[in-house]
């Protein structure tokens, strides 16, 4: 520190370079040059597509082929890599000591996704395949002499964006508010126009959309399988997944339908809510929403622009996703202690209207006048509410009684329940049905029915027939 207490500029510029200092070089924008030699000292130089950031002291290189480079590394465990900053064109030479090869796990998966984007960008889709993530300790980083451009002025500060977003999330009252606020913050603080929040159903191993922004249709209720696309991989591995160029390898859609068809459900076509994502996303990022060491959901953003998300974006958005996870847990705990509050107005009565509500036992799917509404846990909840209402006229319920109801068989980690109720609530609004679920204070809600209902329960064998 200088005499005035400011960091000493001279000391900063001469400080030892770490991997953190050169992270922009590791985005895969410019291929890097790697030099190795064999046991006899014969050199080998090759271009490599990926030098990946691991931590302040480590990088990982993509192992794609068993070639000369690979043999040399295994023989000498040493390499040298020249990298370029894609913004300033500053170049650096890294001296590396080989540590290990990882063939699975978070590091491997994030490199695999990034490589898929790079491969597609360079016409190598299907050729580049990650066999392993080779982790190296960085022994030395030396700037290569040459002219470098000054970095452009900072237009927005990602740390400030993360801070403001967390402040807003901290003021949210419930899950619905949290999800909507997170997406508002993505738009307002990060300038990200297309985003979604998906929650994980631990029993089915699928993620379902609970909130979205920037799409023609909301896609609320649409599902992504664990391990599918950047969203499914982020949830499975508990690690952010980021792609800077369009690639079909991480697309959505077909796999969802295929898995539904193979599971033997007859009404598959009718209850497939389309995933709302961009048709041609050039950049995608999926941040797991963690609670402890497990992902409970995913915060997802995408853009039509290539290389929209960099390491700094990933860090800042991870903070937001992490805060979202903590606040979701708090919201869940609060819902456990019901407290009455104001009820919004239910929809207007339409006494002349009659609606047929059909429930299929096979997958708890619900159809309103032949239109698909919802399935699974949320479908089972909805059916229970309607039956109770039909039997006793009851309209007020608590989250807690649903959680304790053995017939619903809710999973143990049942913060899922609030997300399921929210999904149900939103689907009912979107379908413009005469049924609404309105929150009445903490952990309580009201079933508001504005028309005559006819309930039809379809048993398992009958469900083999399509509903439409």
């Amino acid at each position: 520190m200088s005499e005035l207490g400011f960091p000493n500029a001279a000391a900063t510029t001469t400080a030892r370079l770490t991997v953190d200092s050169i992270r922009a070089c590791l985005e895969g924008v410019v291929p890097s040059v790697m030099a190795t030699c064999d046991a006899q000292g014969e050199p080998n130089v090759s271009l490599i597509s990926q030098v990946h950031y691991v931590d302040g002291e480590r990088v990982a290189l993509s192992y794609q082929f068993f070639n000369k480079t690979r043999r040399n590394i295994l023989a000498t465990r040493a390499a040298s890599v020249a990298i370029v900053d894609p913004i300033t064109l500053a170049q650096y030479r890294l001296t590396l000591d080989f540590e290990e090869t990882q063939t699975a796990g978070p590091l491997f998966e994030s490199m695999k996704a990034k490589l898929a984007g790079i491969a597609s960008h360079t016409g190598m889709e299907g050729v580049f395949k990650l066999l392993g993530a080779d982790v190296y300790k960085v022994r030395r980083i030396v700037p290569i002499q040459g002219s470098a451009l000054s970095p452009p002025p900072l237009t927005h500060n990602l740390l400030t964006a993360a801070r403001r977003s967390c402040e807003r999330l901290a003021r949210c009252r419930d899950l619905a508010d949290l999800f909507d606020t997170a997406l508002d913050c993505l738009q307002e603080r990060f300038g990200i126009e297309h985003g979604m929040v998906l929650m994980l159903d631990a029993t089915t191993g699928r993620l379902y959309t609970v909130a979205s922004r920037g799409y023609a249709s909301s896609g609320i209720g649409s599902e992504v399988a664990m391990g599918e696309g950047v969203i499914g991989v982020a949830a499975r591995e508990g690690v952010p997944i980021r792609i800077g160029h369009m690639t079909s390898e991480y697309g959505y859609g077909a796999a969802i339908r295929d898995s539904a068809i193979s599971s033997g459900l007859a009404n598959v076509a009718a209850n497939d809510i389309p995933f709302p994502g961009l048709r041609e996303p050039h950049s995608q990022i999926a941040l797991p929403i963690m609670q402890g060491d497990r992902a409970i959901g995913v915060l997802f953003a995408e853009s039509r622009e290539a290389m929209r998300f960099w390491y700094e974006d990933e860090d800042a958005l991870s903070v937001v996703a992490s805060h979202l996870g903590a606040m979701a847990r708090l919201a869940h705990q609060q819902e456990e202690a019901p407290e009455p509050g104001a009820c919004p107005e239910p929809p207007a009565l339409q006494p002349e209207r009659t609606m047929v509500v059909r429930h299929y036992h096979a997958d708890n799917s619900i159809f309103l006048d032949h239109d698909y509404l919802i399935k699974g846990v949320a479908g089972a909840i909805f059916w229970k509410l309607l039956r109770e209402h039909a039997a006793s006229g009851r309209v007020e319920f608590t989250n807690r009684e649903l959680r304790l109801d053995p017939a619903l068989r809710l999973p143990e980690h049942a913060e899922n329940l609030e997300a399921r109720l929210l999904l149900l609530q939103r689907r009912l609004c979107e379908r413009d049905s005469c049924i609404r679920i309105v929150k009445c204070g903490r952990g309580r809600f009201r079933l508001a029915i504005g028309c005559e209902l006819v309930l039809e329960d379809i048993c398992a064998t009958a469900a083999r027939q399509p509903a439409l």
Partner: protein, 66 residues
């Protein structure tokens, strides 16, 4: 360096910059990446003894034999 080398070098680098533009790099990046200073240039005459495969892939780094 010999007479005419500078013009050849400039043409090569301009061509490279154009290719970078074509595959989507920005103009600032392409021109900066291909920039050089004539004072830094030296010519090296050499005779290859061994030749190796440079195309990325399984054969990269293997020796090419006549």
């Amino acid at each position: 360096m010999q007479a005419g080398d500078e013009a050849l070098l400039a043409a090569q680098c301009a061509g490279m910059a154009l290719e970078l533009l074509e595959i989507g790099y920005s103009r600032a990046f392409a021109t900066g990446y291909c920039a050089f200073s004539f004072t830094d240039i030296a010519a090296v005459c050499f005779m290859p003894e061994k030749v190796f495969v440079q195309t990325p892939g399984p054969g990269a780094g293997s020796r090419l034999l006549p």
